[in-house]
Symmetry: C2
Subunit: 198 residues, 2 copies
């Protein structure tokens, strides 16, 4: 991780270009057409470079998913509402990003491709909390109310993923009923948050 020399600097820059091209390709044309050739074309590199940095293609996919997770988790909203409502709004801000389509593509790919699936579970928890990792951990094993927290949290998460999938396969724009669902979820979150105040 010491980027003291030129080689390491150049190397990680090239890997980043490959990863970013993969994300771009997944978003634009999907996993099926995201081949080694296609990624190299977008990165303006040759397959020699790809093979040098990622001897196994699934390695590239793993790093790509990790990169997207980091990007999405960087999206943060001010904590000016209750905790659960905050998780909801922040999660929504994440799943509406085009990168979330790439996440779904990779989730499915990891199921269909044994190699990739195996390397993925080794590298990261696939179920790692996309919406609020640290919050969940904090609330777990906290005793009273932790169960209630997780129930609401999980429900919001699943609904957000559903909405994200809808966006991914739609025009990227919100489906007509998205605001309805958000409204219901917001009501749930606010109710929970108010309960916690007492």
């Amino acid at each position: 991780m010491h980027k003291e020399n030129l080689n390491d600097t150049r190397s990680s820059a090239t890997k980043a270009r490959l990863v970013n091209s993969t994300i771009e390709s997944l978003i634009e044309i999907g996993f099926t057409k995201t081949t080694g050739v296609e990624v190299c074309r977008r990165a303006q590199l040759t397959r020699g470079a790809l093979n040098h940095h990622f001897p196994d293609f699934s390695g590239l996919l793993v790093e790509t998913l990790q990169s997207i997770y980091l990007q999405l988790l960087e999206i943060k909203l001010p904590l000016d509402v209750g905790l659960m409502e905050h998780i909801l709004l922040e999660g929504h801000a994440r799943i509406i990003r085009p990168e979330f389509k790439a996440v779904i593509e990779l989730w499915l790919a990891s199921k269909n491709d044994k190699q990739f699936g195996l390397r993925l579970v080794q590298a990261m928890e696939l179920g790692s909390e996309m919406f609020s990792p640290q919050m969940v951990l904090e609330h777990k094993n906290q005793g009273v109310g932790s169960k209630e927290f997780e129930m609401i949290y999980r429900t919001i998460s699943e609904a957000l993923i559903g909405i994200g999938l809808g966006r991914a396969i739609g025009e990227g724009e919100p489906l007509a009923h998205e605001s309805m669902v958000l409204h219901v979820l917001q009501g749930m979150a606010q109710t929970y948050d108010h309960q916690q105040l007492t």
Copy 2:
């Protein structure tokens, strides 16, 4: 649609074999590896047959998705609970089927493949209600309470899709928190159903 002659009977039987092989392939190895060759291998037919019945591969995909929809919509539960709760339980019974993974694969594919996407919207509404088509239509434009109905219905739908995706990319078994989410949704549904009684 008149199956009076032998040709039509044989023809539709062969098409059904191709469609079923496609479903099987989508579930087992995903869209990426579901090629014309693969489908024919599973159906024990040659590409000549495939090309004869489906000159355009996207035609096969459209019929495949339609076939799965019909299969899933055939899954029905007795109406021994409130309407909304019934919709929830029936929807859940559908998204836990392995065929739902094939649905997601095809949804994504229709987004990534222009040809397929175009033919799909011509043939069916992609957003066609997977969970309770007629119910939604009945409640639409019904005035009082219809908005409330759709809000809850849409929220349940999105959460179910999220759960279905989780199953599709997991081991097909329920994720640990699935029962939690179901419990919350069931509470929402029951509350709504009780309100409607008054």
